[in-house]
Structures are given as C-alpha cells and as structure tokens.
Amino acid sequence: MISVSDKVHIDKVLSGDKDAFRYFIKTYQEMAYSIAIAMVKNEFNANDVVQNSFIRAYKGLRTYRADAKFSTWFYKIVVNETLKFLKKNKRYKEFITFMDDPMDYISTFNEAVNNFELFDKKMEIKKTMNLMKPKEALLLKLHYLHEEPIVEIEKITGFTKSNIKVLLHRARKSFLALSVQHNNFKK
C-alpha cells in the first residue's frame, strides 16, 4: 500500500532525522494546497491550513499505519484541518447556491468549453470554484483532479459512499450551472 519512498522517509523521520520530512512537503504540498484552496477560497488561509496540516502530520507520524496509503492518511488531515478552519471562521454561510432552473446547462457548458481560448480560463475556473460550497468543491477536486476513487474519498473525508455520490452529483451540477450563470461560460 505505502510506496517505498514514503516508507523510507517515514523511517528516517521517526529515527530523528527531521530534515527527511522535507520530502513529504515537496511531494504533497501541491495536492494539499489544492484541497485547502478549494474549501477555504483564500490563498493566505489555504497556506495556513497546509502548514498546520504538515505540522500535525509530523507530530502524528508515529500513529500512521502502513496498511493505508500515506497520501490518504495525509489528505484526511488536510480535510480535517480545513473543516476545523471553516468551522472556526464560520465561512459556510458565505457560499451561494446555483439557480436550479430547467435550462440545459450540460450542453451549454460542453459547447462553451470549445471557446475557452477566448477567455481567461484560469480566472473563470477560480471564480466558479470560489462560488461553490466547500464540500462540493472538495469532492470535485478529489474525484476529477486527483482521480481518487470513491473508496479513497470515503477514507479521506469520512463521508459515506452514498453521501459522496450525492455530493458529487450535486457538485457537477453546481459547477456547470455556476459556470454558466455567474461566469462567461456561455455559447
């Protein structure tokens, strides 16, 4: 389950070589940041969450069991740290829900994808992700960006399988609708 490289560096850290922990920061910081930014929507806070997650991982490295993937164990820490941050800052209320109207957002979205060169894609995606609810944005990133299977997402988030499927369906719908309703993703 655990990669050889991860195992070697865990052993090094546990035997007192603190500098060996740099390997984990280098390997997992991008993914951790990607998860954090999807939920906290703010670069400064995302960096803060990532930093706290790594420190928590370092402190709890002894509790890691090699029967699970290290990435799954670590991302669970990132998700927990992010949820803790959101709870503390009560940011849940600030996100909007898309208008659930009968418009065919799927075909509008798919056709608009071909014209993306016309727009500042990064800005549009960022805007859409910022409008999404944290849990939906998280699932979208875990499933599509990091290609985590449902079983791993279950371990990372602690949500049930059926809950993940429902949230994922809603996340897709939300992503399409918000892209069209609030951004330039139009035909």
């Binding site: 922990f21 990607s34 599509y144």
Partner: protein, 116 residues
Amino acid sequence: MNKTEKNIQKLLIDNNELKGIDVNLEDNIMNKINSQTDYNAVLIKTKHKAKIGIILSLMLLVVYGIVTYLELLTTSYNGQFNLTNFYPTIFTTLVVIVVYIEMTFGVAVFRKDVRS
C-alpha cells in the same frame, strides 16, 4: 466518464490553481518542526530517570531492611530524651534524601533551566 465529466476534468487539470502557494512554505514548516520538542528523546530521558529512581528505591529498601533487622536504629538514652542523640540519624536521612533526588533527577534540582 461521459463527455461532460471529461470536460470538467480537463478544465480542472489544465487550470489547477497553484500559484498561490507560499514560496517559503517549506522553510516555514521546517522551522516550526525544528523548534518542536523531541518528545521521543524526552520520553527516553524520563524512562531512564524512572529506572534509576526504582533501582535506588530498591537499594534503600534493602539497606533499611538490614538496618532494621540488625536493630542499628535503636538509640539507647536511658529513658531521657536528648535531641543530640538523633543528630546522626537526621543527618543520614537528609544525605539519603539529597543523594536520592540528585541520582534520580540529576543536576536539574540545582538549576532553573532543566531543558537540554
């Protein structure tokens, strides 16, 4: 994965927002980690101290048993109480206490800063 899902995935992969990562993130984390107390070392030190404490306690218990068995602590003062008769016992007890603490906790007892 249908066409829409593939489009979503492509968009997310092509536009993954990573430029906001703090360039000093790695160093910041390492600084914090390096300033953390090494609890493993503290634990080993404490276990060592506890071990010394237990050995000393057992040794003193054995000495006490021998002294009691041989009735070495019985002071003969002909029915009269005189504090000077107890000076050797008080002195010995104090020495034993100091040696016990010193052996168990090292020089930490005599210094304010006990952390290495």
